[in-house]
Point group: D2
């Protein structure tokens, strides 16, 4: 049995205490430091501190000049951060302490007063709430861009018929536009989830202190107003230990990615030689290092693959929060990297999908070949009989016999002679043949939400109504249907 | 290396084709049959069929007498199902076919007409939508029961002080009531998620047919009205392939279970000998088969343990839906068992937690011992100095020195002599000692959402306002804060 | 915004304590009772008790007649369980207590002595260890059946050429047999994981008592020998709190299901009209309730869908065990349902896949159409040039130009005139055309593990060598390659 | 209802195609580029190329001077990479192309010949196999360090008695050393999993080409020997699409983290004021920004929290691989970031735990207080009676009565008068009292694997035997028990 090669080995007699004492501090510091990733919150941190300082001034906790000094100092710190000249220090652990340390260097000990009536616990919570409020609208806009592309495709490809599939078997013909719009509605639900995640983030945690509230006459509503919050937490313990709003966002992104994985699976299928329904623009496909004829849908595959990553981030945070007693625990620090990774992934995937779909070319010859090779309108035979009073189950059975007849002879339904059909059932009249054309079949599916062109046109109009609405408003139009 | 014992072995020369042909059908049938679990949907299936039949009648697709026969027949089938005399058949695969088969036996071939303008795909989707709409209110009521218990506990235990913890270290004293109410607010957010899951289920899929809509002049709005839906799907492909509404419910339950795991973790901690804050009623604890002195919080542990199960169900369905092309695939049949298991688990856990908490007894002696053993009001020393103009960071440092002094001597903060304190900083006056009483510390945390009794009393009043509202309405009261 | 209908409401003034006291016990009992599912362990429980009783006798802890009485009594209990006449009682909570209670009824108080030197904690652990040791060989045999089918298919389909895909784009032609055998090797690794899971279960926990060991002169090695264990736990705390062996099994099954999901995804693809590579036997496909022409690969889809379920079970147990202090907690009771569900799922899926694959029919016309429609041997052009000294990157570029030329003209590579080829590079001689035949391309890939017929024949021989080995032995043959 | 603020809006009439064409390429390139993370594989990539080039030379595919030029050029590239002067280019997508591009700049077109008989697909697979083979031994060594600390603690703390817990209730006294060693054995199983993951990575994929093998007389065994592989893949399709070996490593790390989460949960508990069993060295705890008295076990909490992250990575890759057809898909590119993140996390956590445990101080006063406050030796009463022939169930009942008697009077078991005991059962003799001392109880648990000092001493000796073995060898000593 193969085994790994010799290890270098540990000096076994060395005392562990001795080994760790000198460097333990540095190791622990590096391990718990979050400045490597939470620096991304600097804008939110500065903004929260400005609002907090002004509120402390208004409440009489800080003198007016103290507030002015702090505000001016925070402005200088922000300038350094923006300019990239800010001196980050790992030993200052996180972005909050880094900023405070720098503020102290710039304005002296008065900087310490900024910490009055505030704890790291509610400050971190505030920053993440603000960050999500800042970032979700951008996600929604990218999602809306992708919805727009889908509607534009539905318009451009209007009239094209394709096999509709269940079990990946041709089932009934549908309009390509109808297929594109199915994804519009999935994304519309995702938009709802993202807006709700935004609303969950819209809750001010500041004022909770470490966990119990603070013994100062603070005015959280002033801070909330300045920062644009419309609600605050009703309980300080909850405020510092809650991560639901992050979970809500991670879940919204996970379902969105599951939808994207369905769409990209279809893109991979449709660009296959065997389906041949779609051709990607060269910019959105790549070649092979060894096979000169390949045109691979890499970006679509990568979006599909990243569904696992985003789902994994959700599972990670659920597991981290499981069974944590109140209130704050350092375990919760793990929320930020999962959040940032999910946000960046989702933003990239939405852009990629929009670009990829907008520039792809439908291949009508592929659609037609697929339709011609199928007996996809067989349902029409059953429907036809049912309309003439044959119980549906019996109609279904008879249509099945006709299908078998065609498959055995390798002919299409449309090639059947009227008398052959009549041989299966006297109820088959010659006009049934016209109904076996895929386009005719599509046209007859006029039930609301069906694939008949006039229904799909209605759908497009409805989508257009939604698209002109502000993307961050839950769509009334959608709610009405 | 140990290895499993000899296997009995397969007759290796037997041809597989030969082996499988005869019994393959039965194996496949048993494998794909869902009647073992989807029989739970029979009420929804009957109700949906009744509405569908009446609508077909109103639309002129079925004759009035046909509708009457079907409606009467469905009533008899329902009667058999209710009475437990219904003859289930595995070979009829699912509840839908079982019912139709029985209906045919009872009323003859006209039963087949019920299938007009409807497919298994939209019928299954309808049943699950109806099921969630039927069941979620019950979950919300159980959740509301648990919220009620928490508020009652907050009222009963009002005034009791406990150590508030961060990192499981005593941090600042809080009211026990404040701690209970933190869970009220988590559950209130869970209620919001459940209501939204209900709203997502409130969308009629019928009329989508297999995937493309149907070629009959159906009126889904009539069906929707009869069944109480306020919306319908805008796209038939989406209608039959969507499982978002199940995912929304599974996610709502997962976060709810994560909250329950935090609460039960605390119950396990608090009923430990070392904490000794809570004693469970004998009905909600169990003994040991080998240790006569044990009183184990089994039900609380089991709730905590089931958090994994419910999260696993969410993971399962996300993975199942990943990368499925449109429209229906049999993979989606896997949604039902995950849903049923989650629903039953969550309902049981909510009931258990309500019963367990309602009958548990707070142990004041445990709380007092924990407070006495701590230097939990040390923050007061820092706050005191900060109020006198000492920068907070410096105040924090000085308070730390006092704490070290006490810990080294094994005395509590309240045992310090005034002159000793003054030795650490001239800013310490004798009145600081009164602030070191935990109750006084609690009383001073009067910021909104803080733990001061008057703030907690406000919280209780707010919770009571919410509790008298209908549980299925998103609480305006909560939204305002 | 739609909202759920009025709830029936709770009597809000009723005291919870009052509500729960009378029925709390029954609720808690029903909630924590495991008899509903752990009855499945009865064989293991009886076997473990028999061995324990005999060992207690040999150690002099029980008198010889006591042991005889107990052994005889356990035999009668087993008889009742086997015959289905055993009187299960929910109030006796679990299978262990049910058996003990019945034993007491049958043989009187001496039954209580069976509990000497044993606790519920190590008894449960023993039963699950035994159960996995009993069941894993059956899983391996079913897996071996599936491997056998794959090898038989590789033999039957030998010589057939298909497009090999990367990115679902035709890449290079391969033998169909080569494709089947890729799954053989995945399953062979799965077999290794299952055997290792068996080895992890092969560790005796009895003797650990509740957590600390027992104060009796017991001889666990005797128990171990009788029960066939080759190892025991070295630490009693570990013995009662370990669930790694269950996780190992769940993980082995999860990876196996991921492999099955890849295979079933391909079955779904290959049976699609567009690919048309495979036709399922009627027994392993089903029709549609509304579309008479459909032949849906439901069993394959369902296997694919169940991948989520099995993965969810793994996630569930990982989350349940996370952060549990030593030693036993009731949370761990959640392991059994996850285990049973996974075991049943995996056994069913393996059988279904074996039956389905054994009876499916390859469709050569589909393979040929796919090969004819592609420029899949373009790599040959590059290889040809590279062999003549053209740097590979340059050869690749030139072959790409030839491909583009063909695609633009809609001709296949084999239709190129020699002079046209020479126009792209003087290095192209006329003999290159022979290499553009897919079968020729396949034949040239003679590197070890490659798709050339003689290499695939070697592979088949190697697989056959492995198949004649006992399935529960890690295959030496496989290790050698 | 609050809603997000106005979005900036998209110019709605702009054509998407127009928008994307110019920049689509760059977006796609940035999206699919992996150079940002796979640069970490450069050592493996160079090593693999060196072995491949030499083999091509030996096989006569490349001339000797060509090989020399390539080998020398790769040496220069490696030098630049080592020195940090290598010019990375995003447009060259991944580390493999970056290296090849640079090699071409340095040695001219002969560099292109390195790509002969190799594809990106088998090259990437080779690099990840090599990477895992390189990195797993380091993980095992860190794990072994932690095991060493546990054994040293078991030695240092030998003789100390603590309450053993089940359900977090004191159950029976155990040696602290016994508790530490329970984790030794969990880690020992983790070591086994890591070694198996190493063995799974020990399989050469090179020679598979893109998917079908290569048409050159290559000698993979030479490459394998040079790179230290003991096996190779038997099937080229499997070789390029397999990610089992990554999953095996991710699973091994996940279970290891679950074990770490149990240990850190206990560290958090034990360092709580209420338990007070352990005090962390100042280097391994941190203070609070607002509470001067806090000493928080942040590093332990963070390890516990990261359990979610590592589990999430496993779930991510399982979901990514689910339902991927053969052979390579870009989805699989997602494996690397999950792998790197898990590796770095696990290495950091193992170091942190070793340092933290090595320097922590046991607090005997906490242990004694916990023992004194309990009736933990009540099992002795039952055992005592059972030894005297009382059926165990009856003995258990009587001991329970004694416990209740003590709890009601607030006295400990040891304070009972002999005659009081005799009042409960005539079988209680006066010598029973001596058995109620926790140390005596511990001493009596002499069953193999039990907590009696001589058994624990045996355990320590066994652990020491294992520790002197090479850490990468599956321990025979452990297997024997």
């Amino acid at each position: 049995m193969p085994r790994p090669p010799e290890s270098q080995g540990n000096p076994p007699e060395k005392l562990w205490g001795g080994r760790f004492s000198p460097e333990g501090g540095r190791l622990a510091e590096a391990f718990t430091a979050s400045i490597g990733f939470d620096r991304r919150l600097w804008r939110q941190d500065i903004r929260g501190s400005l609002a907090h300082a002004r509120m402390l001034g208004a409440a009489g906790v800080l003198a007016r000049e103290e507030v002015e000094t702090i505000v001016e100092g925070l402005g200088r710190v922000a300038g350094e951060l923006e300019a990239g000249t800010f001196p980050y220090r790992v030993e200052a652990e996180d972005i909050h302490s880094n900023i405070e340390l720098r503020l102290t260097e710039l304005i002296g000990p008065v900087a310490g007063k900024l910490h009055t009536a505030r704890s790291r616990n509610d400050q971190v919570a505030l920053d993440v709430h603000l960050f999500l409020r800042d970032e979700i609208p951008g996600v929604v806009r990218r999602l809306r861009d992708l919805q727009t592309v889908l509607v534009e495709r539905a318009e451009t490809d209007f009239g094209r018929v394709m096999p509709g599939y269940t079990h990946l078997q041709p089932a009934q013909p549908v309009l390509v536009s109808h297929h594109w719009l199915a994804y519009f509605w999935m994304l519309e639900r995702d938009r709802g989830r993202l807006i709700r995640a935004w609303q969950e983030a819209d809750r001010l945690p500041l004022g909770a202190g470490a966990l119990a509230g603070v013994p100062y006459p603070i005015n959280p509503d002033q801070v909330g107003r300045e920062l644009g919050f419309s609600r605050r937490y009703a309980n300080s313990l909850d405020a510092v230990s809650d991560r639901d709003y992050v979970l809500d966002f991670l879940f919204a992104c996970t379902v969105l990615m599951v939808h994207c994985s369905r769409l990209t699976e279809e893109i991979v299928l449709w660009t296959s030689q065997e389906f041949g329904f779609l051709e990607l623009d060269d910019a959105w496909a790549t070649g092979s290092s060894i096979m000169p004829h390949k045109k691979n849908p890499d970006p679509a595959e990568l979006v599909r693959g990243k569904t696992g990553r985003v789902t994994g981030n959700l599972m990670a945070l659920l597991m981290t929060v499981k069974a944590l007693p109140l209130a704050y625990h350092t375990d919760l620090q793990e929320d930020k990297e999962r959040l940032f990774d999910t946000l960046d992934t989702i933003n990239a995937c939405l852009q990629v999908l929009a670009g990829l779909l907008a520039t792809a070319r439908l291949r009508p010859e592929g659609l037609e070949r697929a339709l011609a090779g199928s007996v996809i309108t067989a349902t029409e035979l059953a429907d036809y009989l049912a309309e003439r009073g044959v119980p549906f189950r019996e109609a279904h059975r008879l249509a099945g016999q006709v299908v078998r007849h065609c498959l055995e002879r390798g002919i299409s339904l449309q090639e059947l002679a009227p008398q052959t059909l009549a041989g299966f059932s006297p109820d088959f009249g010659p006009e049934v043949l016209a109904r076996l054309d895929p386009a005719a079949s599509v046209a007859r599916r006029t039930s609301p939400g069906g694939t008949a062109p006039r229904r799909v046109a209605e759908q497009i109009a409805l989508c257009r109504e939604i698209l002109v609405l502000d993307p961050l408003t839950p769509s009334e139009a959608a709610a009405k249907i």
